[in-house]
Symmetry: C2
Subunit: 516 residues, 2 copies
């Protein structure tokens, strides 16, 4: 191998008169850092994300402190463990939602195929037959899980997603319009980034999941809030919806997209078919692309009363001119539902009625990120095609998923009941998802104290709650709320619900007493 380049380069550096060489020996003053708060991308500065902000950092610190009880340099905390009710993270330490056995068995086999190739006899003593078969067929389709897949995700998995959608909705789905993603968040960010030009308007519900405001801020797009009506179980107030459109129009802001979260985060409400049709119709008339965040579609507490209906289904059941024209992107995820596999980063979105020229751009942008994590893709496969009744894994899977459904529902109802018994607090019971969003009648003195501390009153409440009880819940202002109202978002995932309620009630009453 010739080394002319090295010799050439060393020569250049040591002896030549190239300006850069000379500059090494000069003492020119440096220019100072390239990156400071004024020089970096200014859109980044505008991004806010409350779910993992000051509160989460403080909770982390307390957790570390409680894990090192011998460190006497720190004051003793008034609680023994941190209750993480701030993030929908079911398998988090302390929440202990057990992963679905079927999932983990299949994944362990595709991760290490020698288990069924070289050690089949031993594997049969550990794994049910259908698990081994499923792993074998996934391995055959995918090959090594360490290889890049197609940028849209593995085709055979996308085909099964299409089948799942077809069976759910009763309308055909095209695997080529389905993109597997690293969780719904990754899908939402990339689709909003493609759809929106700087300045474009995007309607978002208030309260909302803060991913939306964060992404819009980063994209320099304009959030057009429509307020959900708390006194009507967080249903949509259609006048507000229309008002948001016409206000935007009067300001010359093009209304490009409408985000809807159903079942609602943080509200827990489920939309009626009629409300959904009205939204689709608005999109039809105004030429708005509908972004439907449907990641909680499996988390419905009373499916007999209000079964989940996807926006795809509602759209496709409307008159043909609407069904075949309203642009829809629907997002789903393995992080919620009964799987709760947040850390695996898996999800998908389906594009409906998006023009081929735009779909080409979607594909190009997906290809720049190479491919979604294969482990997450397999998660999507297991979500859309769980064990069938009668198969060896079915009973355990049913038992595990039923328990998860029941736990969530029971805890959610119990918590709402107690919130409603507290003075100065009210809470709409949730119909789905995994959160409650109780309202706090904030005492005037607390509002004044918060102002002194330079915080929103509900942020102060949440921080004081954490300090006093170890309960970590996010202030409503992180999600948006009607001006002058104050809320908290708490997850319904905490196994010690009674303990949670006890600690919470004590704090709340003391807080009211303090600021009465």
């Amino acid at each position: 191998m010739t080394r002319t380049s090295l010799r050439g380069l060393i020569r250049t550096v040591n002896t030549s008169k190239s300006p850069i060489t000379r500059s090494i020996h000069t003492t020119m003053a440096p220019k100072g850092p390239a990156l400071n708060i004024k020089s970096i991308n200014q859109s980044v500065i505008d991004v806010h994300y409350a779910v993992r902000g000051e509160l989460a950092l403080k909770a982390d610190k307390y957790t570390q402190q409680l894990n090192n009880p011998k460190d006497h340099s720190l004051d003793k905390l008034p609680f023994e463990h941190v209750v993480t009710a701030n993030i929908g993270n079911p398998q988090q330490k302390g929440l202990n939602q057990v992963p679905l056995t079927f999932w983990r068995q299949v994944i362990s086999l595709v991760e290490y195929p020698d288990l069924f190739k070289k050690h089949l006899d031993l594997a049969k003593k550990i794994y049910p037959e259908d698990v081994i078969e499923r792993a074998k067929s996934l391995h055959e389709e995918i090959g090594s899980v360490g290889a890049y897949t197609h940028s849209k995700g593995v085709l055979s998995i996308r085909k099964r997603v299409a089948k799942f959608i077809e069976e759910r909705d009763g309308y055909p789905a095209d695997p080529e319009s389905i993109y597997l993603t690293a969780g719904a968040s990754a899908g939402v960010s990339s689709m909003l980034a493609i759809a929106l030009q700087p300045g474009d308007g995007c309607m978002i519900p208030i309260p909302q999941y803060p991913l939306y405001t964060a992404t819009l801020a980063y994209l320099n797009a304009t959030p057009l809030p429509y307020y959900l009506n708390e006194s009507e179980d967080w249903s949509m107030d259609h006048d507000t919806l229309l008002k948001a459109v016409s206000e935007a129009k009067s300001k010359g802001i093009p209304v490009k997209a409408l985000v809807i979260i159903n079942p609602g985060n943080p509200t827990g409400s489920c939309l009626s078919k009629e409300a959904m049709e009205a939204v689709v119709h608005l999109c039809y008339e105004e030429g708005i692309v509908l972004m439907a965040d449907e990641v909680y579609q499996t988390n419905i507490y009373d499916p007999s009363h209000r079964p989940f209906a996807s926006f795809k289904k509602v759209l496709k059941s409307m008159p043909e001119k609407i069904a075949n024209s309203v642009e829809l992107v629907s997002f789903h995820s393995i992080s919620k539902g009964v799987s709760g596999e947040c850390g695996r980063r898996g999800g998908y979105y389906e594009c409906v009625n998006i023009s081929p020229e735009v779909m080409e751009q979607v594909y190009k942008m997906a290809s720049v990120t190479l491919c979604p994590p294969v482990s997450g893709q397999i998660g999507v496969d297991l979500m859309v095609s769980p064990p069938k009744a009668g198969s060896p894994s079915y009973d355990l899977w049913k038992q595990e998923t039923d328990l998860i459904h029941n736990n969530l529902k029971e805890r959610s109802l119990l918590m709402a009941e107690h919130f409603n018994k507290l003075p100065g607090m009210s809470c709409n019971p949730a119909e789905g998802a995994m959160y409650l969003f109780p309202k706090i009648e904030m005492p005037q003195k607390a509002i004044e104290e918060a102002k002194k501390r330079g915080k929103e009153a509900d942020v102060m409440y949440a921080l004081d709650l954490l300090d006093a009880t170890g309960i970590c819940a996010v202030a409503g202002s992180g999600f948006g709320q009607e001006p002058g109202t104050y809320h908290l978002r708490v997850t319904a995932l905490c196994p010690e619900t009674a303990e949670f309620i006890g600690r919470f009630e004590k704090f709340h009453k003391e807080f009211l007493e303090q600021y009465k």
Copy 2:
């Protein structure tokens, strides 16, 4: 649970005079699609990504066709399988680089901890002792791999990354400045997105990995190309480097960042310490943040001649005023090296000398994406702390990694040798990474023919090569090259190197004959 909302809403939709209800019954003309090529984010249109473009789509089509030999509606192809030399995807079907056994064993256990909890006796018959111990301790640290981790990644893994960097470089590393990512690409995109304002200049090598031009196009930042010198084994021409800076300055473009890829992709060259110092010095004098893509740091063919030196090490060995001021972000990945675990999506970046106020923004943006895939994080852990000599897994691990190193080196040398024997073709032998970038002396007639077809001549060459031989290689124009020169990027991963060379030579000679 009260259902006032539903009743209220249905009432509204059926009977009220709300404007949206009435609009359902009107026949207003729809506005047409929200998303078309003119209405979407125009920066997206400007993004190009050659590695997975027309060529990859065509190769996919051929692969599917070869998998369905009974479909007689299609012409018979003149080859029996597609040789994927276009993507650095070692574990891809047909390339068959075997995953490291140690990795897959550990991961299968942390995916399904019952293997060591409930089935320990059976597990001991399958897994070496150190694998079980490693999986247990990872499980203890992380908990369920289905839970979100810290947005920066699991702390204990970041600590081991810091230790790995310290041992590699001889300088301290701070786990709090290390971010685990979904592969290096995700890290590069997010850091460039934070660092660059629209219009900011970012120096990039030409040829480059097209992620950089794609990301800069999306960010509306200005690529400032500096040409690598092919006649000097793709070393940096420092005059060109300086010329790029002063040209940008004369146009009023602020030079904010400098991207460098070492070992080089697609060039395969390794930088000398002197060349690296000169780059750091330029960054010091001009106040430029250095983005060092070091994902091929393990892929060095002759470490005794040219061991890998990181930019961190070079920077920290320079005078204190430089060592403590030049801003550096270094990217690493589990997709390359000997692991080749592309599909797992794992990597990390280390920030050096970045101001705390900017690091806060980095943390905030990481938190919006929740956390990197846990499976990829575990991959990073296994990369930075492989089995120790003497442990039960060591010998197999050593044997497997040696084979991967040797295969790459042998194939790369053999291919370069043959490229150099061909008429109208020359190729710098690679010193590392996993590619070769041979130059084609393109016949004038071929250039004219390509113009007729509306393509770059090397794109036409690559497409014709695929059609004739099934070999999939990317045209140099996808990476950038000196105007008037033509190249191909081929990976050195193909196990049938001799067959590859034979088919390639035949095509190349016929191509020259055709256009002589």
